[in-house]
């Protein structure tokens, strides 16, 4: 006891190191899910991040809406002309869509399951500088669960890895630990889109016979059950076909511009939709 008191400082430091090792050992093999203590910490700390992001956005929007309107009239005229052009194009596409629908009905092809999209706001970015993840303001109370796909209008953002009652952590496609099965949209060649830690991704395991070139779109294959088929992952930036390698070396630029990422959409799973429908029917029954 006397020795402990004499070297109290050093002993406490050793205890902290031992505690860290215990924490690390306990968390290994349990995935990236938050435990109850972590959930509590997130529930306390995330509002601070949300408040900061909200303030910055408010200031940014104020600047854009009130002080940055130089040339707005010219842009307005240009956009009106563009809308006219797009409306003309759209009428053609509507016709094609109706034709497609008619043909699908003829072939009896079932429509894609009606995915429910839940919008969420980005409240925080990864604090370590070593991983690529975000925190969003929707959690288990809103029906979010682990491994749900997160997208935006541009393409795949990532997947949910941890959930607390009001917040969730999303592992971005660009993180080194992310791997999504993908297809080359044009040639249907298969591969695996892996994050690199930067804005670039690798498209691995592309066989030599696969036709792939710069600019080709890479979409999700639907395998793995997390991401629905056909979501855009990115575009091929470079293809290196070395004769000494087993596979082609393909680099992909992510479809999502993460520098401008503010809102995302969570694709709710079929189980959640069925549960919600069941609840709604139950409520209807109760009303009757």
């Amino acid at each position: 006891m006397a020795i402990f008191l004499e070297h109290k400082t050093k002993w406490v430091a050793y205890i902290f190191v031992a505690l860290s090792v215990i924490l690390l050992s306990l968390s290994i093999g349990k995935g990236q899910e938050w435990n109850p203590a972590e959930k509590l910490a997130i529930e306390i700390t995330a509002p601070i991040q949300k408040c900061f992001i909200g303030t910055v956005r408010f200031l940014k929007d104020s600047w854009k809406n009130y002080f940055f309107l130089a040339g707005a009239r010219q842009e307005n005229l240009r956009l009106k002309a563009r809308i006219e052009l797009l409306e003309f194009e759209n009428s053609g596409y509507q016709e094609a869509l109706l034709t497609n629908k008619r043909l699908q009905d003829l072939l009896n092809i079932q429509d894609k399951p009606d995915n429910l999209l839940l919008p969420a706001m980005v409240t925080g970015w990864d604090s370590s500088g070593m991983f690529k993840s975000i925190i969003i303001d929707k959690g288990s109370r809103e029906g979010v669960s682990i491994n749900m796909a997160v997208v935006n209008s541009e393409g795949v953002v990532g997947r949910v890895v941890s959930v607390s009652p009001h917040y969730s952590q999303v592992l971005l496609v660009t993180d080194q630990n992310s791997a999504i099965d993908g297809l080359v949209q044009s040639s249907r060649g298969r591969g695996m889109v892996k994050g690199s830690g930067s804005d670039e991704c690798y498209f691995d395991y592309v066989i030599k016979t696969c036709e792939i070139k710069q600019g080709d779109a890479i979409v999700t294959s639907g395998l793995g059950g997390i991401f629905p088929k056909g979501l855009c992952l990115g575009r091929v930036e470079s293809v290196d076909d070395s004769p000494y390698e087993l596979f082609k070396d393909v680099r992909v630029i992510s479809a999502v511009n993460f520098n401008k990422l503010e809102e995302v959409l969570i694709i709710m799973t079929k189980d959640f939709i069925a549960l919600r429908k069941g609840r709604a029917q139950g409520e209807d029954g109760a009303l009757r």
Partner: protein
């Protein structure tokens, strides 16, 4: 306590105490990712926690440095998809190592202290990679990151002297001469230590 009381406490060097330093560090950890994202410097690993830890070690506050290292490491672990305990272990081990070698290290000189900050960051990266290698399937970081790591260490070490100065100033200490801002036991009053 009125404003006058607060100013008296600040002059006495007891207003900016260790809990405030912890709170500021926690806010930094919380907002660091968002700030880096807004500034478009996500590829840089500007970490101010090693600066605070080196500062505390320079003030002979090993225990407080250990507590801060563990708390901030754990908070970082929670906010990242890393295994819980990874950054806590990293910060605690490096802080403990520095403390053990303190008889060979000159914390009284601001230049060497800034160098220790750079070394701390480089060691942190090496340590995290080793632990990731040992405990997970072993993902490699891209080669470009090595440049960003060295650049981050350089920028953070350059940020160290003004922050040492500010911490001394905030603690109510006389920080007119920059070299005496981190001078071992001679400045025990800063941060109410």
């Amino acid at each position: 306590m009125g404003i006058g009381g607060l100013i008296r406490r600040w002059r006495a060097g007891i207003s900016f105490s260790f809990p405030i330093l912890c709170a500021l560090s926690a806010i930094f950890v919380l907002l660091r990712g968002s700030i880096s994202h807004l500034l478009g410097i996500e590829w840089l690993d500007i970490d101010l926690i090693p600066i605070v830890l080196i500062y505390l070690l320079g003030k002979d506050q090993e225990l407080r440095a250990g507590v801060l290292a563990f708390c901030m490491g754990t908070l970082t672990d929670i906010l990242t998809p890393a295994q819980l305990g990874l950054f806590a272990l990293t910060y605690c081990t490096i802080t403990l190592g520095l403390n053990h070698c303190r008889q060979f290290l000159d914390f009284t000189n601001i230049k060497t202290s800034a160098l220790f900050v750079a070394m701390y960051l480089l060691t942190k990266w090496a340590f995290v990679l080793v632990v990731l290698r040992l405990f997970t399937t072993g993902n490699l970081i891209p080669s470009t990151s090595f440049i960003s790591v060295f650049l981050s260490a350089l920028i953070t070490s350059l940020l160290a002297p003004p922050l040492f100065y500010l911490m001394d100033l905030a603690g109510g200490g006389r920080a007119s001469g920059t070299l005496i801002t981190i001078s071992g036991n001679t400045h025990g009053r800063a941060f109410g230590l």
